[in-house]
Amino acid sequence: MYNDMEQTDSHIITQVLAGHTRHFETLVERYSRQVFALVVRIADSPEDAEEITHDVFIKAYQNLQRFTGTSSFSTWLYRIAYNTAISASRRQKHEAVIEPAQWDAIADSCVDDALDELTQQRIDLLYKAIGMLSPDERAVITLYYMEELPVSEVASITGLTVSNVKIRLMRTRKKLYILMTRLYETDC
């Protein structure tokens, strides 16, 4: 069953596909901020992010007849945004590399504690660590923690399976913990 927002979205899409291009403006107004919020975290540059967001809406318009309605319009748009932003940021390679041995040496409880302790020092370290993640990792944590989407929807947007999203989230959390520790040691 669709809620009012979904009905309105599908109504607008029908209008746009019938040739009333100007109705697409409502969708741009409605979703541009959300798309930008995701893209800016993947692209890591507000200037590039605005251009990517612009491209996302043009791609969405060009492929609107392919929108089948099996997912919500926002999920479909997020998928375009995710793919466009990932392709655009593949050129920027500044992610940190973690040795395989380091993964196993960390207990999950340590990660849980580190990521849930609300001190300014932790927030600052984590903020720096997020900047060292790959665009894919930043996208997944943004969708899960910032946009508060369920794992199934994150999977639908990223094209990964639900299990793979969970694994990626777990690994990203561990990676953040390792990077925080490294940064802490460097700072001291």
Binding site: G19, I58, Y127
Partner: protein
């Protein structure tokens, strides 16, 4: 099969760090919607022009095929009715006209007339004004 646990949804430090990123304060430019809609109108205009070009080309090819088919059909129908004399007349045609065969002449006249008819029909029934 081992069930993979969902990661902790709490992670307050992680949420705070994500929210404290300067990108959270970054906003889209005020003319973003206008700029995007301008680009979309251009995309739509280009798409319609491409579509019109395809329709025109298909129309033109269809006209030429119909003209050739009509000539062939006419000849095929006329031959048994007019008999052997018509065949002889057709054979004599190139020699009778001063340089240009009347059949070729008829084609030369018919093609521009058909093209003009195709354009007129296209403008009347296919080309629609932009709705947006």
């Amino acid at each position: 099969m081992k069930q993979i646990a969902e990661p902790s949804a709490h992670d307050r430090t992680l949420r705070s760090a994500l929210k404290s990123m300067p990108v959270s304060q970054t906003r889209l430019s005020t003319n973003f919607t206008w700029r995007t809609m301008e680009a979309i109108h251009e995309v739509e205009l280009r798409r319609r022009k491409r579509q019109e070009l395809v329709v025109r080309r298909v129309g033109l090819v269809a006209c030429v095929i119909i003209a050739i088919a009509a000539l062939g059909l006419g000849t095929w129908i006329a031959t048994p009715i007019l008999g052997a004399a018509f065949k002889q007349d057709l054979a004599d045609i190139p020699a009778s006209a001063g340089g240009i065969s009347p059949v070729l002449g008829a084609i030369i006249i018919a093609v521009p007339v058909l093209i003009a008819a195709e354009r007129l029909l296209y403008r009347t029934y296919i080309k629609q004004p932009r709705k947006s």
